[in-house]
């Protein structure tokens, strides 16, 4: 079907664009120590709120005279680190539970499904606020909170796919061959959800980044004086009147990061093998939570 090929090609380009931008952001973040013209924390109190280009600051300075360009370069560290770790934790946890729950069924499945329901009944942002306020703030807690609000997406997707697959002819064939449960889960079911997980994880990454930014914005994520995009927007929003760049530039960086992750995820999810399922499910699950987070 040529129709498919040509549309896929076009999407592929958008997907590649996403991957490239994402790659660039990651690269810039990794190379920040080399590339940044200034220490992201160094203040120049004589030149606070400098406009882009003023006093030799390419993108201007913030209220404390810190170089915005340097801060932007460092600013993705926390979101990316927290995002990737949270996606890993949530993804592994959700996928493992989804596989087991979907294959084994029974009361454990019921229990976990209810748990996921409950998890969904708590708007993610509220849960995160609650835990961060009463459980203390640290990167580890942040990762856990974001992972905690992310696992139901994987769990539900994987579980529903596994529910469909477990009675599929090829799984039944494996059972007839005498394959043990763990083998079926690892060799028959896991490959079947691989694509699904890849897409979910990519889209979940954008959710995690958005949530980290949202929490940092509310003062519960990264802490001053750290350079963190979400925090920088919060710090700069009071200065919109006179120095818009302090808030707007990090905001735009955040948008670029999220867009690229989304583009990539979109692209992956449009590929045949995942049948657009994760997008749909995510729009039911994580997207809504991302929204509430941001």
């Amino acid at each position: 079907m040529k129709t498919d090929t040509s549309t896929r090609r076009r999407r592929f380009n958008a997907g590649t664009a996403g991957a490239v931008v994402l790659g660039i952001i990651v690269l810039l973040t990794l190379l920040a120590p080399v590339l940044a013209p200034h220490d992201p924390l160094a203040q120049d109190l004589a030149h606070t709120n400098a406009a882009p280009g003023e006093h030799g600051y390419l993108l201007g300075t913030d209220q404390l005279g810190r170089d915005l360009l340097s801060r932007l370069l460092y600013g993705a560290q926390t979101p990316l680190l927290v995002g990737v770790l949270a996606v890993l934790c949530g993804g592994v946890f959700g996928t493992a539970l989804g596989l087991l729950s979907g294959y084994a069924r029974g009361w454990a499945d019921q229990l976990l499904s209810r748990l996921a329901d409950i998890q969904l009944a708590l708007p993610a942002i509220l849960l995160a606020l609650l835990i961060l306020t009463f459980g203390g703030q640290s990167t580890a807690v942040l990762v856990l909170v974001i992972a905690l609000t992310g696992w139901p997406a994987y769990f539900r997707l994987v579980r529903s796919r596994v529910l469909a697959l477990r009675t599929s002819a090829y799984v039944e064939a494996s059972r007839l061959q005498g394959a043990p449960a763990h083998w079926i889960i690892l060799r028959d079911l896991l490959p079947g959800v691989r694509g699904l997980i890849a897409v979910t994880a990519t889209l979940d990454l954008s959710r995690a980044v958005l949530m980290e930014a949202g929490l940092s914005y509310l003062g519960l994520g990264a802490q001053a004086p750290a350079a963190d995009w979400g925090l920088m927007v919060a710090e700069g929003q009071g200065r919109l009147l006179s120095s818009w760049w302090i808030a707007v530039l990090p905001g735009l960086c955040l948008v670029a990061l999220v867009i690229s992750a989304n583009l990539l995820g979109e692209h992956l999810s449009r590929r045949k093998d995942t049948g657009g399922e994760p997008r749909r499910a995510l729009s039911r699950i994580s997207r809504t939570r991302t929204r509430s987070a941001a």
């Binding site: 949202g214 919060a234 999220v258 867009i259």
Partner: protein, 313 residues
């Protein structure tokens, strides 16, 4: 049908119960709430007395039971910062949040419907999805990638500060509603528009669309039938979004100083106003769950197949 309703109701109660238990546990895992609640400078004895008065010295299990007993009757201790029943504080703020959320929801529905129908009409004309004509979807995609708080900040900057067209804070007058409602809607439009568009184009790809055309229907009529068919997933997402909307108010109300429950919950958390946090969260969670229950029940109305199969879908 009745059994279906009861089953959903049961699940709903389980979800509410679980969510509240989670809140309860998180709050109690952080130590004796009386310490936080005692006024500044309170002595050990005063804290202990307060703890006794509120029952925090009793076994956790017992407190848990009391908490649920009270919560069921809508009873929470007095808010520490407001010195009045926590639930009253919440319900006082409710109209503001509901106004905002309802406006945003209506706005989001209108936009999502427009975007979806635009795409649907394109598909019906044989255009491939993703083509340039689908620029509204591109905008939706963009909106989905911008953090809500940043949208708010941008809107304040552009319309409030630069152009000075619209008020940027407070709940006074219809004008003040515009920017927060748009910001809040921005969070809901993407999932809604996507789901509506995708299911609409999905419905259009189904053979009954071809049947309609083969019978001599106009495209508009075919589109209408397909839109009817895509209501089910759309309403599902709408339900979830209505809940997410409540979560979204947390940020939007803060950006725009909108005096609703969302702002309240942040203040309560910051002030460690334990009873108020409980009441507020209980309320938000219940609202979320109820909205989704309503959505579940709507399924039957929307899709005859659900109605006749007595549930399970």
């Amino acid at each position: 049908m009745l059994r279906f309703v009861l089953r959903r109701l049961g699940l709903t109660l389980v979800a509410v119960w679980g969510a509240l238990s989670a809140v309860f546990l998180v709050l109690h895992s952080s130590g004796n709430p009386a310490v936080m609640m005692a006024p500044v400078g309170a002595s050990e004895e005063q804290i202990a007395a307060l703890g006794r008065a509120l029952g925090y010295d009793r076994p956790l299990a017992e407190q848990y039971v009391t908490f649920f007993g009270d919560a069921l009757r809508g009873q929470f201790p007095d808010s520490l910062t407001f010195q009045q029943p926590a639930l009253t504080v919440v319900t006082d703020r409710l109209p503001a949040t509901l106004t905002l959320a309802a406006t945003a929801l209506v706005l989001a529905c209108v936009v999502a419907a427009a975007v979806g129908l635009w795409s649907g009409a394109g598909v019906l004309r044989g255009r491939r999805p993703g083509a340039a004509r689908e620029w509204p979807m591109g905008l939706v995609f963009l909106a989905q990638s911008v953090p809500g708080f940043f949208i708010g900040v941008l809107l304040v900057w552009i319309f409030g500060v630069r152009l000075q067209w619209l008020p940027t804070s407070g709940a006074s007058g219809a004008g003040a509603l515009v920017l927060p409602a748009i910001t809040l809607a921005c969070g809901v439009v993407p999932p809604l528009a996507r789901v509506f568009r995708n299911s609409l184009t999905g419905e259009l790809a189904r053979p009954y669309t071809r049947t309609g055309l083969a019978l001599g229907m106009r495209r508009g009529r075919v589109l209408r039938h397909a839109a009817h068919g895509s209501m089910l997933p759309t309403v599902t997402v709408l339900g979830l979004e209505a809940g997410a909307l409540l979560g979204g108010t947390v940020i939007v109300e803060n950006v725009f100083s909108w005096p609703g429950v969302g702002q309240l919950v942040i203040t309560a958390l910051q002030n460690e106003d334990y009873p108020l946090v409980l009441a507020d969260l209980t309320f938000l969670i219940t609202a979320f769950v109820v909205v989704n229950l309503v959505v579940d029940l709507l399924y039957g109305v929307l899709d005859p197949r659900v109605r006749h199969s007595n549930g399970g879908h």
